[in-house]
């Protein structure tokens, strides 16, 4: 073990401590094995698998309609987007063109999901650095989105609203009105967020220059979503591989170049504004028509491989389906954004203080069921 002599009398020594699995700052059941020397971090090793359910193995025995339901148990804060990823993969494989109405509704719900996820992240981020108020603000605004989801989708968290071929039901008559009400409300709230945290000097001191990730490393580690974009790596799947109604809206990709925790924070705040802009462009123009196209009760994908990328609130989710032509997939792989984003934790926290680890983890915004699957 490495030792260093201080003042000839005291010796500092490296030692291990466990953070988690039941630690409030790990946002789920994640255990970190820390090697520290005093307050300085020497090594961070995540220990995963506490909520591994082997969703990929379960998929091999399920029909394609059933797989959709498993996906919102992965990243439960982006459940609608996860559902959509599987549906898009199946629809592309069947060469099924869904009605315009479905595409627009899916995109509106995607962006609502993103705002709701970022609201929760913002609240928890504040709590991780010691500001309890933000938690209640974030949850207050998220509640309005959950109410919209409950009315239209029938559930607040695990929505299961997408099915291969469209949507399970048509939208609730109140949907458009309530989304507009939420947008009006939320536009006055983001400046409030800024006043509470963004401009707060204590908050800035905790996050600026902490956990720096450069662009080359971001690409090499496969960082996507706000983590990648805060390092100047342009990686928005919505821009590069647009899906659903994203080809008809205009939005800016939130990019920052500092690569520190504060940049990751700013990217998410900016993404909330962009999501609002996307919803505003679509909400008045939901086309009439059916909410689904009929598919066979038993869906059999043609032999081959299908890959679909979508942008969840955390980054790039990939669904890789290998089919042999039967009613069950031969192999399903979910490329989760969380696993790649977590793998760079050791790289950006080594040499920093243990208190900064918590703030850095908050800005990476991990959801453990997404990593463990």
């Amino acid at each position: 073990m490495e030792t260093a002599t201080i003042n000839n009398n005291f010796k500092s020594e490296e030692y291990f401590i466990n953070m988690g699995p039941q630690h409030p700052a790990t946002h789920g059941v994640l255990r970190l094995l820390l090697t520290i020397d005093g307050e300085i971090i020497k090594k961070v090793e995540p220990d995963l698998g506490y909520i591994h359910r082997s969703i990929e193995k379960m998929c091999e025995n399920d029909s394609y309609q059933q797989i959709v339901h498993l996906t919102d148990r992965m990243d439960y804060l982006s459940s609608h987007i996860n559902n959509e990823a599987v549906c898009l993969a199946v629809e592309n494989a069947l060469e099924l063109e869904v009605p315009d109405r479905v595409k627009v509704i899916r995109t509106i719900l995607d962006e609502l999901t993103r705002i709701s996820s970022h609201c929760l992240w913002w609240g928890v981020m504040g709590m991780d650095v010691g500001a309890l108020t933000s938690y209640f603000y974030g949850f207050r605004d998220r509640e309005m989105i959950n109410d919209i989801f409950e009315e239209t989708c029938g559930a607040r968290l695990t929505m299961n609203y997408n099915i291969p071929g469209g949507l399970m039901h048509d939208i609730h008559p109140n949907f458009v009105r309530r989304v507009k009400e939420f947008i009006t409300h939320f536009k006055t709230k983001i400046p409030e967020y800024d006043r509470l945290l963004t401009g707060n000097i204590i908050f800035q001191k905790r996050t600026k220059g902490v956990g720096i990730l450069n662009k080359v490393d971001a690409i090499s580690f496969g960082a996507t979503g706000p983590v990648g974009r805060a390092s100047g790596y342009s990686c928005d799947v919505r821009k590069y591989h647009p899906y659903s109604a994203l080809d008809r809206v205009h939005f800016n990709e939130a990019l920052h170049t500092d690569g520190d925790s504060y940049a990751r924070y700013l990217v998410r705040i900016q993404e909330m504004w962009e999501s609002i802009s996307i919803i505003e462009q679509l909400i008045d123009y939901i086309p009439d028509g059916d909410h689904k196209v009929a598919t066979n009760a038993v869906i059999k994908l043609p032999k081959g491989e299908y890959y679909q990328k979508v942008e969840t609130a955390r980054g790039e989710l990939g669904v890789y389906i290998v089919s042999t032509g039967t009613k069950n997939p031969y192999r399903v792989k979910f490329r989760s954004p969380g696993l790649s984003n977590l793998s760079l934790l050791n790289h950006i926290t080594v040499g920093g203080k243990i208190g900064d680890l918590v703030a850095t983890m908050a800005t990476i915004d991990i959801v453990v069921p997404d990593i463990d699957r």
Binding site: D217, Y307, G318, R331
Partner: protein, 158 residues
């Protein structure tokens, strides 16, 4: 680069493409698929990332597939400069002791993804610095994503 240009360029790197089992196909996939013998994979991957024209700097998916007789490792690559995508695959015939060179020195993200493939398929990645199970406990027996894995207690087979 288009798929045809990629195919011509990469074939040109080898004096005898048949000797390393280099094959291209676009059948049954939306991307260009390249398959190669596992012994030559690492060298090819190295050039795929460093060559100025291919520049595959982003490994977005790494996984295994159990085809019964053999195990296959599949790498999805994308270039952030040109935004072209290619799939590299390699079949390992030895099921008892499947081994392939690790690519974690080329893409750092491969570290965790290779540990996942080792955990669930039992594929050993040579020169990996920390090849341990990622999700399952160290004393877990068998590799669950293999097709011949049986667990009568916890698995529901329909």
């Amino acid at each position: 680069m288009t798929n045809q240009e990629l195919q011509d360029l990469i074939t040109g790197w080898f004096t005898d493409p048949a000797a390393v089992k280099l094959e291209f196909t676009e059948e049954g996939s939306q991307f260009l698929n390249l398959s190669i013998h596992p012994d030559y994979l690492h060298e090819l991957m190295y050039y795929l990332k460093l060559n100025r024209n291919t520049s595959f700097d982003y490994l977005f998916c790494l996984t295994g597939i159990d085809w019964g007789k053999e195990l296959e490792v599949v790498y999805h690559l994308e270039s952030t400069d040109y935004r072209h995508i290619m799939v590299v695959r390699s079949k390992i015939e030895d099921r008892e002791n499947p081994e392939i060179e690790s690519v974690q020195d080329i893409w750092a993200t491969a570290n965790f993804h290779e540990r996942e493939a080792f955990d669930l398929f039992g594929i050993r990645f040579k020169n990996h610095p920390n090849l341990k199970r990622l999700f399952l406990s160290e004393d877990f027996e068998g590799y669950p994503l293999r097709k011949d894995f049986v667990d009568e207690k916890n698995m529901v087979v329909k």
